[in-house]
């Protein structure tokens, strides 16, 4: 015996489609909720990703940092001797020291001085995935040549290749560009060679070491051996672990998780109320018709299917419309904040699930009058 008569399919859509104005209002309500959720989530992920950008760009198997450096924006140096000790380990192919500091960047057009972050490392070894390593090395081998982060915020003015720029009163040749990206606090970055950096900061120590292991070496075993050979003033993590730690630190240290979470909740509530109201009106307007079907013997499952069909359509339609609007919002946000705001699989699936959950819950609540309807009242 067939469980379903095919006439039962598509009823919810036909009922919704019969009133185009109401359908448009419902889709708009869901779309607005989707935009709010996407924007809040996008900003949250944008902040988190931007704060952990350095870890995401690392081209290394392991990262060595001072144990006191509990987040990437606390610039506690690691003793250079530790990097030499690690380099002596048989599993280790290479340890690249990375220096980080700030310099005053004089903007050529208006001559104002702005703070900029400097990343420095040996010219022959590029520890970041920020561009063509060979080209970067070729530039950095020339003393006084630096690279500008093209993703920096526009406050530094227009930077041209071959232009001379002033960093802490010294002229450098801007010989090319890399792609790193700013974070919430820092607006931009310049990459220079270890030699250029140390010539101006002779006593500086690296802020981290990028460790590359010999091919075939198990990362976790190598880390255990490195840690066993060193005092406990350093920590050794994979770049992914550093990134995750940075996410957790940012969420804990700043209330952004709560702020953006409340924003998303607001979107969810707006969408749920809109959806509930629309579906409730849809049901109330057809109450006698639904009650008639109930009297005739249609089960609660039938009504749930009709309303869930409507909820599914509203959630998918609203999601697509909302995603299209969000795409425009993201373009603006990325431009305005220079943060890594954009669509990804996680946020898309997450918002879609929230949207479907929101409309389904609204639909099931809206269905209560039918469930409680007294079919005897029809006579």
């Amino acid at each position: 015996m067939k469980l379903l008569n095919s006439a039962e399919w598509g009823l919810g859509l036909r009922f919704l489609g019969h009133n185009p104005l109401r359908l448009a209002a419902a889709l708009s309500g869901v779309a607005v909720a989707v935009v709010i959720m996407f924007v809040e989530l996008g900003l949250l992920l944008g902040v988190l990703n931007s704060q952990a950008m350095v870890a995401s760009r690392l081209d290394a198997d392991l990262v060595v940092m001072n144990r006191a450096r509990v987040d990437l924006h606390k610039w506690t140096n690691v003793d250079g001797i530790r990097l030499n000790q690690i380099a002596a380990e048989p599993d280790v192919a290479q340890v690249i020291p990375i220096y980080q500091g700030t310099m005053g960047f004089r903007n050529p057009p208006d001559l104002s001085i702005r703070r900029i972050v400097i990343f420095a490392f040996p010219a022959n070894e590029v520890p970041f995935d920020i561009g063509n390593p060979e080209k970067i090395s070729n530039v950095l081998r020339i003393p006084g040549s630096v690279l500008f982060d093209r993703l920096s915020r526009p406050i530094y003015g227009e930077i041209r290749r071959g232009q001379d720029v002033e960093l802490d009163g010294t002229l450098f040749r801007m010989a090319g560009f890399v792609s790193l990206g700013p974070d919430v606090v820092n607006d931009g970055a310049v990459v220079m060679s270890e030699g250029d950096w140390l010539s101006r900061h002779p006593n500086d120590q690296p802020i981290m070491g990028a460790v590359r292991l010999r091919p075939g070496t198990d990362v976790h075993e190598a880390r255990a051996r490195i840690l066993a050979a060193l005092p406990d003033d350093v920590i050794v993590m994979t770049p992914d672990e550093v990134r995750s730690r940075e996410f957790a630190f940012t969420l804990k240290a700043a209330p952004i998780g709560i702020l953006f979470g409340i924003g998303m909740l607001a979107g969810l509530v707006i969408g749920a109320i809109t959806c509930y109201q629309i579906l409730f009106n849809e049901i109330v307007d057809r109450f006698a018709e639904y009650a008639t079907l109930r009297a005739m013997g249609f089960s609660s499952r039938f009504f749930r299917r009709v309303i869930l069909e409507q909820a599914a359509f509203l959630s998918l339609g609203g999601f697509l419309a909302g995603a299209a609007l969000t795409w425009i919002a993201y373009l603006y946000l990325a431009y305005a904040t220079s943060l890594a705001v954009g669509f990804d699989v996680f946020s898309s699936v997450f918002v879609l699930m929230l949207t479907v959950g929101m409309t389904v819950m609204a639909g099931l609540f809206a269905l209560r009058p039918v469930a409680e309807a007294d079919p005897a009242s029809l006579y």
């Binding site: 008569n5 018709e289 009297a295 005739m296 007294d374 029809l378 006579y379």
Partner: protein, 237 residues
Amino acid sequence: MNVRIEPLDVKAAPQSAVSIVNVSYRFAGSHRAILKGVDLTLAKGEFVILTGPSGAGKTTLMTLVGALRAMQEGEITVLGAKLSGLDAERQLRLRRKIGFIFQDHNLFDALTAFETLWLTTALDEKKPPRQEALVRAEALLGELGLREHLHDKPGKLSTGQKQRVAIARALINEPPLILADEPTASLDKVSSDSVIALIKRRVKLGASALMVTHDARIFAAADRVVHMVDGKIDRVE
């Protein structure tokens, strides 16, 4: 296209379609009983009209027979099922065997006449495919003079036409019991006659019909006319 309607299996069912024994009923919060010890039997293949003044209890009795209200006192047996203690799921299954005709058509404005009937066939245990449902719907709407309105939505139909579609909806699954409340109230004489003729044909094939009406024009079509007054059966003609 005509459809031959098979007679119901009378051997499998009891001889009475509905048996009402000493039924009383009062609404919640009311001291006055709307039904007072009513006894009535509707035989298989019988057409009975319930009539009487407003407040006599006709509609309440109809809703009790239709398993739309919970029993209080007495016993009603419908198509072999005792309604006292019948759980919700069984009530639902029983109602699927009843053709309900309400005073208002209550048609979904988004569905055509055929779609309304096709949807109703979902309550038929056989769940006929679309083509079979179409054949049934064409035949039934044809009998009601609505064949050309098969694919029209309610917005294109007159009140009388909508009521006839609602009547077709009640009959599409060939129910063994028809419960009708003033089915001809919004119909002209010609339409009213066609509806009564259709119900009579179903009754001849073994269905039973219980109809509430004030329309004296159709009393003659019934096997019995039961007059109710003040919650009791006053007389039977």
